[in-house]
């Protein structure tokens, strides 16, 4: 009897469900589409993120390059340049390198225009006054082309003696609001805006050669130079003149003042060299932060770890380390979203929550809460950009974190009502624990801003940070992040 009954029931169930019709296919497809193209979207998001990271990196490198260039320029091109512009003609030849003021007034008939001294960051290493001849054949070191009557202020740019690089000097000011360009070069090209200037590294002096002859030698690095060009002869102007003006006593005094400052500054810089040249800087830190995740209340947590900054150059560091931190999440209103259907077994209580109108509710357990506690090891790999190395320790940091979890505990609670009475229920807890259950690679984006303060020989750094989850973490693939403050203590180590 029972067997027959069972067979009939089985037959009826098959009959009903093999031909089951459902009207919610459109809604189902809409829900599926929210998940199904997810990977494609994620790929796009990853590419966007990588593109942004690359753009940021290029930008940082560009800033670094410019800053390095300016620093180098200040070291090598420490001169005051003064250029007197002929009031009538448009060509001006300028040269700027000596301990004394240089005046290129060579023609008695020349009328000199107003001149202006532009102090540059210089260090006078010698006080030798070097003169130069007025002949165009001898001096052709610098050429400036301008319009008539303009006054030009010239500031030297980068000079790298080892590379014999041509240096372009930009005309900044002009009485007639016109711009000119000056090029100082090693080899003579009269009336050209692109000459070359060579500065031998071994001597620290600048040799300015014209047509293979050196007429101005051992020009020091730090003097105001005033160059007047005459108007009488185009040829004369074309070959350029640079002479020493011994009358610039006042300018020299001013220059001396700058020299003192510069020397003091350099001595200060020299003292800083060991710290700025450190290859690896180690530190320890403690972190206080809040974990956040969709559906979870924010949880306050603590962590601690070691950091190591590897110097790439003055501005950039690779920052890595190892930390141990506690992460906790608490879902009281709903269970966390699952990354995939098969990952959700421990979270199955979530499926008890909404009860369809089609079904009985009596035996359905009701979701109450879900807690996750994770003790994790975090290994970040960040790039750090220091804004003004040596003077401050303010920086931006971005990168990715990898790691694993030492311990993962997931606990969910639910009310398990009695079958026939909804008033009687029993709270049950179910916990699962895992340890070192896999390693996640680059699943968290790190962003931080830090500023440091000297504390004896060491440095105390306050670093607000944000960790943004790129993918789910742990066995339950929970997508959670953290935001808080690191308190770092960086030790001094020296380059080996």
């Amino acid at each position: 009897m029972d067997e027959r009954w069972d067979n009939d029931l089985k037959k009826r169930i098959k009959e009903v469900f093999d031909n089951y019709e459902d009207t919610s296919a459109d809604e189902g497809w809409r829900l599926l589409r929210e998940k199904f193209p997810e990977k494609q979207k994620r790929r796009i998001a990853v590419w966007i993120w990588l593109g942004s990271a690359a753009a940021l990196l290029v930008l940082l490198l560009g800033i670094f390059w410019l800053r390095t260039a300016n620093t180098t320029s200040q070291h090598f091109a420490g001169n005051k340049v003064q250029i007197k512009k002929d009031t009538n003609k448009g060509s001006v030849q300028a040269i700027a390198r000596n301990n004394s003021a240089v005046d290129s007034a060579t023609n008695k008939n020349q009328k000199h225009a107003k001149s202006k001294v532009i102090p540059l960051n210089t260090i006078a290493k010698t006080s030798t006054t070097t003169t130069t001849t007025n002949t165009a054949k001898n001096v052709n070191s610098a050429t400036l082309k301008t319009e008539t009557g303009s006054k030009i202020l010239v500031k030297p740019a980068i000079i790298k003696p080892e590379n014999n690089l041509a240096v372009s000097l930009a005309a900044v000011n002009s009485n007639q609001n016109r711009q000119a360009q000056v090029s100082v070069a090693q080899k003579n090209t009269p009336l050209s805006a692109n000459n070359n200037l060579q500065k031998p590294a071994s001597t620290g002096n600048n040799n300015i050669a014209g047509d293979g002859q050196t007429d101005i030698n051992s020009l020091a690095q730090t003097n105001p130079v005033r160059i007047d060009t005459g108007t009488k002869s185009k040829n004369y102007l074309a070959n350029s003149l640079a002479t020493v003006d011994m009358k610039q006593v006042q300018a020299k005094k001013m220059d001396d003042m700058f020299i003192k400052e510069k020397l003091a500054s350099n001595q200060k810089d020299d003292k800083k060299i060991p710290s700025s040249k450190k290859l690896i800087s180690l530190g320890v830190y403690a972190a206080t932060y809040f974990n956040y995740a969709k559906g979870s209340s924010n949880q306050f947590n603590l962590g601690a770890g070691l950091t190591a900054d590897i110097r790439l150059n003055d501005n950039l560091r690779i920052s890595t380390g190892l930390s141990v931190g506690h992460n906790s999440l608490s879902y009281n209103s709903q269970a966390p979203a699952l990354q995939s259907a098969t990952d959700g077994a421990p979270l199955a209580a979530a499926s008890f929550a909404p009860i369809s109108r089609y079904l009985y509710t009596a035996s359905t357990p009701q979701f109450k809460s879900y807690d996750a506690n994770l003790m994790g090891i975090d290994v970040p790999l960040n790039i750090k950009y220091i804004f003004d190395p040596g003077k401050s320790n303010t920086y931006l940091l971005a990168g990715l974190s990898s790691g694993t979890f030492i311990n993962e505990t997931y606990t969910y609670s639910y009310n398990n009502p009695s079958l026939y009475s909804t008033n009687v229920s029993q709270v049950q807890n179910q916990s699962t624990t895992n340890s070192f259950n896999g390693i996640y690679i680059a699943r968290t984006l790190n962003l931080a801003f830090g500023t440091g303060y000297l504390l004896g020989r060491n440095r105390l750094v306050i670093e607000p940070f944000l960790k943004y989850p790129l993918e789910g973490l742990g066995t339950q693939q929970l997508k959670f992040g953290a935001g808080g403050i690191n308190l770092k203590f960086n030790f001094e180590t020296h380059k080996k």
Binding site: L9, T342, L347, L359
Partner: protein
Amino acid sequence: MRPPHRIAEDELIRQCKSGSLKYQELLYKQFYGYAMGISLRYCQNRDDAMEVVNDAFIKLFKSIESFDSEKPFKAWLRTIVVNTAIDRRRKDIKLLQNTDLDEAGNLTIGISAIEDLLADDIISMMQMLPPIQLAIFNLFEIDGYNHDEIGEMLKIPASSSRVYLSRAKEKLRKVITQEKQKHG
């Protein structure tokens, strides 16, 4: 809702293998009812069943290139849906396997009552079973798995599967009988 024009199964599968989203949608809607019919038997509620169906179709679309067109598509879809449902409910099954109904009485039910059962009646009736008994009843009686396969799927001994099945049938008899008595 049934698609206005049913397309040949082979054509749908062929287009889905080429990655056509349009044909994936057509395939989904054409077999949605069938998949829901399976899923509803295993799940606690309708929303859960729909999620199982969607996860099953996602798996299906991802692996459809490896599908042998010579084999029946419905059987393949059924396997995927059943596995997805079991995976999803594995935790409940393990957790609540000790939950039990009251002992069934010795009431019997007339054959005509079973023939009157509709889909919603059957779903409601089956939902009163503990998850493990529900799963085993479906796997064995409806979807044709044997006890060894069930034991492997649910990580329980085959003998336990037999016991749970026996209990499930007994309780279904009791529930149907009670319902029949309740509604005259």
